[in-house]
């Protein structure tokens, strides 16, 4: 009896112990996987450091060691980039100094972040800069301390972090990992991508074992495995890699499945990296994928369609009304012409307010301006409404004193009635105010942002682009290096996680013969530093085909001229000596055929918006001197 009892007890105990052990084992799989990859990278990083410290005897050996370390780092990128992007810049940063990117512009002022690590070390090696190599490799070790397995255990406590690491990873599959961003050796891009895809597959398996409450869906894993097979069968030369199929058939599909999974599991983020991303968006090419600006302004809480139509109609009238300019002759529509992509395609830069001389900068298209965090080409403004006010009051542009704006608008009975009606919808400002005027303007022109391009449709598998356009896109993502600055999905300088905008120094001349340069200091005017002198915010390429002329000063009349400018290595490539140019001065060596393919691709970024052409009549003012004004202005 005793023996029997003991046997049963022992068996039960054993089962419980084994169960507990197995459970414990699985609960550690995820952490062990992290430790495994971390140790692998730590070892290769130490080998690299020792080699550098012992004196660089052989450049090829050093390059091999850097490449090996990069390979080992690739899987960790999945966690590092999300967990601590600032420290990660010291391990594999793209630039020695950065100001704007990853700065959460609504909450933080730009601050200087130092870049270092493998990418910069390899670039220094290519330039025979031994001191640079030593410096860039030397900083890796201390940064790596921030990612030790112990430091990550807090993040790993719940499954939520995984969902958001993975979302950022999928987004970056479409923007960074195939374009050569942070990868100086073109031949390494696809092998590194493949190593990363496979490494992350290991993470997925470990994740599903440990976080058994929220396993990844089978359809997601099937699509992911198909994606790995696709890349395995692609040429290793990034110029021959089929970026078009990769993004449309795989990456964007993975994003859709993953978004559904995030919603289903109700994952919550505590990181401000996730702040602007819209959980509801099911496609990277959904225009709502991230939130840039509040286009409704003070009318934020208005959702009734009739009220919104009223705001839009008010905005449309005001947009075309020269009442908002000092001399009653210039309206918003004078420089932002709806039929010309909300810019003025006939002038490099607009006439100054006093008709003497020209403005310094090209009037940017208003289309998609909502998807910038910083407004204006120098990033001067945080909100669209602030920007609208600055143009109306700028002595060189519309020159209307701020104190006059509301008075003039309210002198028209039509405006007064609508504004009084609408202000009832805004409890914080129950009487008509300048905020209502500005918000109506920004709401009106932003409604055209809702439309999408053929390219977006193609990425969502709703249509197929021509062979030429596909070739153009593949060049855009590889040889032409456009995608290292113009990031999908908006083709602007806002890269995932979509919290900051990038600024670049291209060396755009003041004349097409490259005899003059530097008339405009750009970002330096707002945030003065060596890196920001002559820097401008990277603009969107959506609708680029219809928003000539180009660059901050409108120096190029055609898109072909712009592509040729890049093909020749920007300002430095044409002999200007700009010490902080961020664009490589190396020639791209694009052929005529390739340039033509890129131009065809760019035309697929035109969005299919329609402008209502109903005639509008300006409201009459009780002040008769205002009633001679002409619809749209006379500039």
């Amino acid at each position: 009896m005793k023996i029997k009892f003991f046997t049963i007890f022992a068996t039960l105990f054993g089962l419980i112990f084994m169960g507990a052990f197995r459970n414990d084992d699985n609960s550690n799989v995820y952490n062990s996987t992290y430790s495994f990859f971390f140790k692998g990278y730590e070892n290769s990083s130490e080998r690299l450091q020792k080699y550098v410290q012992s004196g660089i005897n052989n450049e090829d050996s050093l390059r091999d060691l850097i490449h090996q370390a990069r390979m080992d780092l690739k899987t960790l990128d999945f966690w590092f980039r999300y967990a601590n992007p600032i420290q990660y810049k010291l391990i594999n940063g793209p630039l020695p100094v950065e100001w704007e990117t990853e700065v959460f512009e609504k909450y933080e002022k730009p601050y200087k972040r130092i870049g270092s690590g493998l990418t910069l070390a390899e670039l220094a090696l290519n330039d025979n800069d031994t001191q640079g190599v030593i410096k860039y490799i030397g900083s890796i070790h201390s940064a790596l301390n921030h990612f030790k397995p112990d430091s990550m255990s807090g993040l790993f406590k719940t499954a939520d972090h995984f969902a958001f690491c993975n979302r950022l990873y999928i987004l970056n599959l479409s923007t960074l990992y195939t374009t050569g961003f942070e990868c100086p050796d073109q031949n390494q891009i696809i092998p590194e991508l493949l190593s990363m895809l496979k490494g992350v597959r290991t993470i997925y398996s470990a994740y599903s074992k440990t976080y058994i409450q929220n396993p990844l869906d089978d359809d997601y894993l099937e699509k992911y495995d198909a994606c790995i097979r696709f890349v395995e069968n692609q040429p290793k030369n990034p110029q021959l890699f089929d970026h078009y199929t990769f993004v449309s058939q795989y990456v964007n599909q993975l994003y859709r499945l993953h978004s559904n999974w995030i919603l289903k599991n109700d994952f919550r983020s505590k990181s401000m990296l996730d702040y602007t991303i819209n959980k509801e968006a099911k496609s990277i090419f959904d225009k709502e994928i991230y939130r840039g600006q509040n286009t409704k302004g003070i009318f934020l809480r208005v959702n009734n369609q009739n009220d919104l139509t009223k705001i839009e109609q008010l905005g449309r009238l005001l947009f075309n009304d020269p009442l908002l300019s000092g001399n009653l002759q210039r309206s918003c529509a004078s420089c932002h012409i709806a039929e010309q992509g909300f810019t003025d395609t006939t002038q490099g830069t607009a006439l100054a307010f006093n008709h003497r001389g020209k403005l310094k900068r090209n009037a940017p298209s208003l289309l998609n301006s909502e998807y910038n965090h910083l407004i204006m080409q120098d990033g001067k403004h945080l909100t669209l409404q602030e920007q609208a006010l600055s143009v109306i009051t700028n002595p060189e542009e519309m020159n209307c004193p701020e104190s006059l704006i509301l008075k003039r608008v309210l002198s028209c009975k039509t405006y007064k009635t609508i504004l009084e009606d609408l202000s009832k919808l805004t409890p914080q400002a129950p009487a008509p105010s300048i905020e209502h005027v500005l918000s109506a303007l920004t709401f009106y022109y932003s409604k055209f942002n809702a439309s999408k391009s053929d390219f977006d449709a193609a990425m969502e598998l709703k249509l197929d682009l021509s062979v030429k356009a596909k070739r153009g896109f593949n060049l855009f993502m590889s040889k032409a290096q456009c995608a290292t600055c113009h990031f999908l999905p908006l083709f602007n300088g806002v890269k995932p996680p979509f919290v900051g905008s990038e600024f670049e120094v291209l060396g755009v001349p003041d004349d097409t013969a490259f005899t003059r340069f530097g008339a405009d200091s750009g970002r330096y005017l707002i945030n003065p530093s060596f890196e920001t002198l002559f820097a401008f915010r990277t603009g969107t390429l959506k609708n680029i085909n219809r928003t000539a002329p180009y660059m901050h000063n409108g120096v190029y009349k055609t898109l072909r001229e712009v592509v040729v400018f890049y093909n020749e290595g920007g300002g430095n490539g044409r002999g200007l000596n700009i010490s902080n140019q961020t664009l490589s001065s190396d020639k791209l060596e694009l052929t005529e055929q390739e340039i033509s393919d890129i131009l065809v691709f760019l035309s697929t970024l035109n969005e299919n918006y329609t402008i209502d052409k109903q005639p509008i009549e300006l409201p009459k003012s009780k002040n008769k001197q205002y009633n001679d004004r002409v619809l749209g202005g006379t500039y």
């Binding site: 609504k106 909450y107 919550r268 401000m272 702040y275 509040n294 934020l300 909100t383 914080q428």
Partner: protein, 116 residues
């Protein structure tokens, strides 16, 4: 008679509602000049209106038909952390529902609201 009592009840109701609205008082630092006080009071009132729209549903108590608004420090309303403080905040106080500028106004309101 019923008519009269209805009118009286309604009048009391309207008066008490007004009294409730007026029960919020502000206090400003002594050394602040009157003109600056006026400007700040205007901001604080905007902040109060926004508080009533975006926060009052969960945070305002009604005690004897009076609106009782708790005190919050500016640390509690600081920036990003405030928006993810809990599930309700995360779902209802993203930038699509309350902008950063509006949050600053609400902060002004709590800054100058007379503390309990």
């Amino acid at each position: 008679m019923i008519k009269y009592s209805l009118i009286i009840i309604l009048t009391i109701g309207v008066f008490s509602m007004c009294a409730n609205k007026k029960s919020i008082q502000f206090e400003f630092p002594e050394k602040m000049t009157d003109s600056i006080k006026l400007v700040n009071q205007a901001y604080a009132e905007k902040g109060l209106a926004l508080y009533r729209v975006s926060c009052a549903k969960c945070h305002t108590d009604t005690v004897k038909r009076r609106e009782v608004i708790p005190d919050f420090t500016s640390e509690q309303l600081s920036n990003y952390e405030f928006r993810i403080a809990n599930k309700k905040h995360e779902d209802n106080l993203g930038e699509t529902q309350l902008t950063q500028d509006e949050l600053i106004l609400i902060n002004m309101f709590f800054n100058y609201k007379k503390k309990k």
